[in-house]
C-alpha cells in the first residue's frame, strides 16, 4: 500500500508498505529517518516516541496505515518544531500539519544512512562535532547535553520528544510531574537524575526566556 503523511512539516510518500509495518519501521527504513529508536518495539520503552497530530505516541505501536493524511514530528524535526512553536506562540503549532516548515531533515540527507567507511564525511563529522555550539538545537535538546543526561543516548530521542511535550503543557513541572510524564521512557544508563536535571534546566531556561 501507499501511505501519504507529513513528517516534520514535509509531505512524504511511502510505497510498497506492508500491512503490519509500523510507523517506526516506515520512518526508519523507508524514509531514512532513524532518529526514532527501536529498543523494544513493544510499546514498553518509549524510545520510539514521536508526536502524531501533536500527541506523543510510541511509533512502534502505530500501524503505518493509520498515519495516512496525518502529521508526524520526530526528533529530527524537534528543533524546528520548537522554533515554530516559539514563533507562532501557542504550543503544538506544527501538530496540525499546518505550519509548513521547510526545515527538518531532508529526505536526501536522511537517506545517506548507510555504512560509511572510517574516513567518510558522516562518521568523522560525528567525531569532530563540537558540543552543541552553533547547532540549531531546541531548549530541551541543549539542556540534555548540558546536564549530562545523554550517555549512550539510545533513549534520548524518545525522552526529548516526551519532555518537550511535557514542557509545552506545563512550563514549570514539579519533580513528581516530570517523573510521571517520563515514566513510559526507559533509560538504562543514567539513573534518571540527570534527565530530571535536564528537564528542570530546560524549564528554568524557558522561564527566563519568557
Amino acid at each position: 500500500m501507499r501511505v501519504n503523511f507529513t513528517v516534520n512539516g514535509r509531505q512524504q510518500e511511502a510505497d510498497d508498505v506492508w500491512e503490519g509495518e509500523s510507523l517506526l519501521y516506515v520512518l526508519r527504513e523507508r524514509l531514512g529517518l532513524p532518529g526514532s529508536k527501536n529498543a523494544c518495539e513493544q510499546g514498553e520503552c518509549g524510545s520510539c516516541t514521536v508526536r502524531l497530530d501533536g500527541v506523543p505516541v510510541c511509533s512502534c505501536l502505530v500501524a503505518a496505515g493509520q498515519v495516512e493524511g496525518r502529521d508526524v514530528v520526530t526528533v529530527e524535526g524537534l528543533a524546528d518544531f520548537a522554533k515554530q512553536r516559539e514563533e507562532h506562540g501557542h504550543g503544538g503549532a506544527c501538530g496540525t500539519g499546518g505550519c509548513g516548515s521547510k526545515g527538518g531533515v531532508s529526505l536526501d540527507a536522511a537517506k545517506q544512512w548507510q555504512a560509511h567507511g572510517p574516513n567518510s564525511e558522516l562518521r568523522s563529522r560525528a567525531a569532530d562535532s563540537q558540543t552543541g555550539e552553533g547547532a540549531p538545537l531546541s531548549n530541551i535538546q541543549q539542556a540534555f547535553i548540558d546536564a549530562g543526561a545523554v550517555q549512550c543516548g539510545f533513549c534520548t530521542p524518545g525522552l526529548l520528544v516526551q519532555a518537550d511535550a511535557l514542557l509545552e503543557q506545563n512550563s514549570s513541572p514539579s519533580d513528581q510531574d516530570i517523573r510521571e510524564a517520563l515514566s513510559g521512557n526507559l533509560c538504562r544508563c543514567t539513573g534518571y537524575e540527570k534527565i530530571l536535571d535536564a528537564v528542570r534546566l530546560a524549564a528554568a531556561r524557558q522561564g527566563e526566556a519568557v
Binding site: 527501536n38 514498553e44 567525531a127 558540543t131 549530562g148 539510545f154 534520548t156 544508563c189 543514567t190 528542570r200
Partner: protein, 801 residues
C-alpha cells in the same frame, strides 16, 4: 585523613549549567557526540543502511536440551524474497565454535541444542518480515534430552554432560565435567580462628539472573567486499576480541575482516560475547550482498549472556568486641550452557568474597556450573556483585547479634591501605572504606512522610504503588540500610591486558590539531570525551579529533571491568607524552640555539605553545611543526603485571587495582501489599581522580540504579521444569523507570592511586555492588524479615509465597 574531595550535591539547575571551556582533564567537558545524539543523527548499529541490503534472521531453539534429528529448510528456501538459508552444514571453515576463553559455543547448533534460544539456522531475505516468516517455516525435529538445571542435577553421578569430552585448560582440575572452573582460596586457619568467635552467623543467599537490558538492540551490517572479505559495522565492547573469534569461523585471515564500531546503545557486559556478528557475515558472504541483522527485544533476551545467578553459603564469626574472626563460604554460579566469561567470574567471586574487610582466616570456594540454563557471562560488577549481596547481609546479621550499629561494625573491620587480601595481595593504594561509610551515614536523612508535605493529603505518586492508589500512607513503614563493596579494576589473573593508542599531531589552518585513534568501544561511558580531554591536557591543544574506532589500529581491550579510562586513557596519555617529546625534539633542533631554556628547563605544552615550567613562552606549536611531517605515533600501554591464582590455595597478586563504593538506602514499604518504594539511595565512592566529574556522577547514578533494579524487580525467570525463559520482554522483565528510581545524591572522593594514570581509579562497576544489599538491608530494617533472595517480590514481604 588528608584527602582532596569534591562533594556534588543532588542536581539542581544551578550546578549543571557549566559550559565546556578549555576542556582538559578534571573539567566536566561535554560529550563530543552529544549534538548528534540529541538530533537523532548519531548512527547506532541498528540504523545502518545500505543500498540493496538484505535482512538476516536467526532461528532459535524452542527447547532447552535436545538432539536435532533433522532440519528441513526446503519450504523456507522456496519462499519468494528469500536469498539464503544456512545451517551448521553450511559453515565454511573447520572451526565451527567460538568463545571468549573456551571455544565451546557453536555458531549454529551442531546436532544438539543446549539451551532455550540457541541459534539453529539463519535466513536472509529482502524484508525483515519475509525473513521472519521463512525462519518460521524451517522444520526441526527435536529429540529432547534430560535437563541439567541446578547444582544437584549438574553434579549427580549420572548427570548428562553438557560438554562431554571437553578439553580446555580448566577441565583437568575441576572435580566434575559439568563444572566450568573452580577456585578455592585458603588462608590462615579457619578452625583455629573459629574458636575465638563469640558469635557465629550463617546464611544462604540466592541471587537471581539479571539482564543487562541495554536499550540498543544487538544489530549490525555486514558488507561483502571485492577481495572476498567482509566489512562489519557493529556495536560491541571489544572489536579485536570479536575479530579473533569471527575470522576463524569464516575461514578468512583477520585482515579480510574489517570491523568498525557503529553507535552502541549501552552494553554493561552484554556485548562482550559475540551475538549477531558471525551470522551477518556468513549471510553476507553466502549471498554476496550487504546483510543487516537487528534483534527485536524478544530475541535480545536470547542474544546475549546474562549475569550469573548464584547460591551463596556463608559463615562468619566475630568476637564480642566486634572483630571478625573467620569466614567460610561456597559460591555456586550458574554459568548456563556455554562457558563465556564464567572462569573469570569465578576468579572474581572468590577473590572478592570477603568484601572490603580485614579477615585473615578464610576458607573459600567458588565454582561455575555448566547447565541447560541460558548462558551467563559478563555484567557490570562481574562476580563481585553476587558476593557483595551475601557478605553485606552477613555483616548486618553479625552486628545485630552483637548488638552493634551496622555501620560501626563495618568500620571496625574495614580494610585500609596495607590490608592483606585473602589472596595474599597487599592493598597498596588508598582504601577509604570506613570513610565512605561515614559519608553516606552522616548525610541528613530525607524527611519522613514526604508524600504529605504538599499539605493536601497524600501525593500518592510518591508512595509505594504510586498512581495505582494502593495506599495513601497507611501501613507504610520506613527502613534505612547500608552497604559497602569492593571491586577489582581491569583484567586479572595474569591476563596480558593492554591497550593501544595512535596520536597524530599536525597543523591545520595554522592551528595545531591532535587526532586520537583507538579501537576503544564507546558504549555510552564517555571514553571519547575523556580521550579528548587527555589529549588537550598533554598536548596543549584545543582541537582534538577522535577517529572512529576500528580494527585498523591495535587493540584497546574491552570496554568492561572498569578498565577503559585506566587502560586506553593511559595509552592516550603515554602516546601523547611521546608525541610531546618528539615535538620538543624538533623544537630543540630548530630553536634550541635561541634560548637556553630549551636545554635546561622543564618544558610544557599549553595553549598551543611551548612554555617553561616558569611560564615563559618559547615557541608556538604550529611554528615548530611548520614544514615538518605530522608527528604520528602508535604505542601500547600495560598496567603492572598480575599473576594467576594458585589453583589449590588461591594465593597470588591477581588484581591490578581495587575500587570501593558505599550506599545508604532509604525505603518505604507498604507491608500489606508488599510494595517497595526506594526514597533515596545515597552513595559515596572513591574515584582516585575524576577526569570528568559530570560523567563520573552519571556513571555512579546509573550503576546504582542497576543495583536497585536487581534488588526489587529485575530477574530473568527460567522455568525450572523446562529451562525455558518465561519473561523475554520489557513487559515482563522489569527495569527501573524514572518512577522507581529515587534521588541519588553522590559524594565523590579523589584519593589518588600512585600506580594509575593521573591517580585515577576505574569506577564504572563499583556502584552496582553495594546498591543492591543496601536496599535489601533497608527493606529488612523496615519489615523485620530475613529476605535472602533477590529480587524481593511482594510475596516475600507479605508471607504469601
Amino acid at each position: 585523613m588528608a584527602q582532596n574531595t569534591r562533594t556534588v550535591p543532588a542536581g539542581t539547575p544551578t550546578n549543571v549549567t557549566q559550559k565546556h571551556n578549555k576542556g582538559g582533564i578534571g573539567e566536566s567537558t561535554l560529550r563530543p557526540d552529544g549534538t548528534l545524539k540529541v538530533t537523532g543523527e548519531f548512527a547506532y548499529s541498528s540504523d545502518m543502511w545500505h543500498e540493496d541490503m538484505l535482512w538476516g534472521q536467526t532461528l532459535r531453539s524452542t527447547v532447552a536440551h535436545a538432539e536435532i534429528a533433522s532440519i528441513d529448510i526446503s519450504e523456507a528456501l522456496a519462499m519468494p524474497g528469500v536469498y539464503s538459508v544456512l545451517t551448521y552444514d553450511d559453515l565454511p571453515a573447520e572451526m565451527k565454535n567460538y568463545g571468549l576463553e573456551i571455544q565451546d559455543t557453536p555458531v549454529l547448533a551442531n546436532g544438539r541444542v543446549r539451551h532455550h534460544g540457541e541459534p539453529v539456522a539463519l535466513v536472509a531475505a529482502d524484508h525483515p518480515e519475509t525473513a521472519r516468516r521463512a525462519a518460521a517455516k524451517i522444520k526441526i525435529d527435536y529429540r529432547e534430552l534430560p535437563l541439567v538445571t541446578d547444582e544437584a542435577s549438574a553434579l549427580a553421578a549420572d548427570a548428562p554432560l553438557i560438554h562431554p569430552g571437553r578439553d580446555d585448560h580448566h577441565s583437568g582440575h575441576v572435580p566434575h565435567p559439568n563444572i566450568v572452573h573452580r577456585q578455592p582460596i585458603i588462608r590462615g586457619n579457619v578452625e583455629e580462628a573459629r574458636k575465638r568467635a563469640d558469635v557465629i552467623v550463617e546464611g544462604e543467599y540466592v541471587f537471581g539472573m539479571q539482564d543487562q537490558a541495554f536499550l540498543g538492540p544487538e544489530s549490525g551490517l555486514a558488507v561483502p567486499s571485492e577481495d572476498g572479505g567482509v566489512d562489519l559495522y557493529v556495536a560491541t565492547q571489544w572489536l579485536h576480541s570479536d575479530l579473533k573469534q569471527i575470522a576463524p569461523v569464516l575461514g578468512l585471515p583477520e585482515e579480510k575482516v574489517r570491523m568498525t564500531l557503529s553507535g552502541v546503545g549501552g552494553a554493561f557486559g552484554g556485548r562482550e560475547d559475540i551475538s549477531m556478528q558471525i551470522h551477518a557475515c556468513l549471510l553476507a558472504l553466502a549471498t554476496n550482498k550487504p546483510v543487516k541483522i537487528v534483534y527485536n527485544r524478544f530475541e535480545s533476551f536470547f542474544g546475549h549472556v546474562h549475569r550469573h545467578p548464584a547460591k551463596l553459603y556463608y559463615e562468619h564469626g566475630a568476637t564480642k568486641d566486634g572483630k571478625l574472626t573467620h569466614m567460610k563460604c561456597k559460591i555456586v554460579l550458574d554459568g548456563g550452557a556455554y562457558a563465556s566469561a564464567s572462569p573469570a567470574v569465578v576468579g572474581n567471586a572468590s577473590s572478592l568474597s570477603v568484601g572490603p574487610y580485614v579477615l585473615e582466616d578464610v576458607d573459600i570456594e567458588a565454582i561455575a556450573l555448566y547447565t541447560n540454563n541460558p548462558p551467563c557471562g559478563a555484567m557490570r560488577g562481574f562476580g563481585a556483585v553476587q558476593a557483595c549481596f551475601a557478605y553485606e547481609a552477613q555483616m548486618d546479621k553479625l552486628a545485630a547479634k552483637l548488638g552493634m550499629d551496622p555501620v560501626e561494625f563495618r568500620q571496625l573491620n574495614a580494610m585500609e591501605m596495607g590490608t592483606i587480601m585473602p589472596t595474599g595481595q597487599v592493598v597498596d593504594s588508598p582504601a577509604p572504606v570506613a570513610e565512605l561509610l561515614r559519608r553516606v551515614k552522616s548525610r541528613p536523612l530525607p524527611p519522613e512522610r514526604q508524600w504529605e508535605s504538599a499539605g493536601e493529603g497524600a501525593d500518592v505518586r510518591a508512595l509505594p504503588g504510586g498512581l495505582s492508589n494502593t495506599t495513601h500512607g497507611e501501613g507504610v513503614v520506613r527502613g534505612v540500610g547500608y552497604a559497602v563493596g569492593i571491586k577489582n579494576v581491569g583484567f586479572s589473573e595474569g591476563f596480558d591486558d593492554y591497550s593501544t593508542a595512535r596520536v597524530r599531531l599536525e597543523v591545520i589552518n595554522g592551528e595545531p590539531v591532535a587526532m586520537v585513534h583507538t579501537a576503544m568501544a564507546e558504549v555510552g561511558q564517555g571514553g571519547v570525551t575523556v580521550h579528548a580531554q587527555i589529549a588537550r591536557t598533554e598536548l596543549g591543544v584545543t582541537q582534538v579529533t577522535i577517529h572512529p574506532a576500528d580494527t585498523q589500529v591495535g587493540s584497546a581491550g574491552s570496554t568492561s571491568a572498569s578498565r577503559q579510562t585506566y587502560m586506553t586513557g593511559g595509552a592516550v596519555k603515554n602516546t601523547c607524552e611521546a608525541v610531546r617529546e618528539a615535538l620538543l625534539e624538533i623544537g630543540r633542533r630548530k630553536n634550541g640555539s635561541y634560548h637556553p631554556a630549551w636545554a635546561t628547563a622543564e618544558l610544557l605544552l599549553e595553549g598551543g605553545k611551548v612554555v617553561t615550567d616558569g611560564g615563559e613562552v618559547l615557541a608556538d606549536i604550529a611554528d615548530i611543526l611548520e614544514g615538518e611531517d605530522a608527528i604520528d605515533l602508535e604505542l601500547e600501554f600495560r598496567h603492572r603485571p598480575t599473576v594467576a591464582f594458585d589453583l589449590k590455595t588461591g594465593q597470588g597478586d591477581g588484581h591490578v587495582q581495587y575500587t570501593f563504593a558505599a550506599h545508604r538506602a532509604v525505603v518505604e514499604v507498604d507491608t500489606e501489599l508488599g510494595l517497595v518504594k526506594v526514597v533515596e539511595l545515597a552513595t559515596a565512592q572513591d574515584v582516585g581522580k575524576a577526569l570528568n566529574m559530570l560523567s563520573v556522577v552519571g556513571q555512579i547514578q546509573g550503576g546504582t540504579t542497576q543495583g536497585l533494579g536487581v534488588a526489587i524487580m529485575e530477574e530473568i525467570i527460567v522455568d525450572p521444569k523446562t529451562a525455558k525463559v518465561r519473561n523475554p520482554s520489557f513487559t515482563d522483565y522489569l527495569i527501573p523507570t524514572i518512577l522507581d528510581t529515587p534521588t541519588i545524591p553522590v559524594d565523590v572522593l579523589e584519593l589518588a592511586d600512585p600506580n594509575a594514570p593521573y591517580g585515577l581509579r576505574g569506577m564504572g562497576e563499583a556502584p552496582t555492588l553495594s546498591s543492591t544489599p543496601a536496599v535489601l538491608a533497608a527493606i529488612r530494617a523496615a519489615t523485620g524479615l530475613e529476605l535472602n533472595k533477590t529480587p524481593i517480590r511482594p510475596e516475600a514481604l507479605t508471607g504469601t509465597l
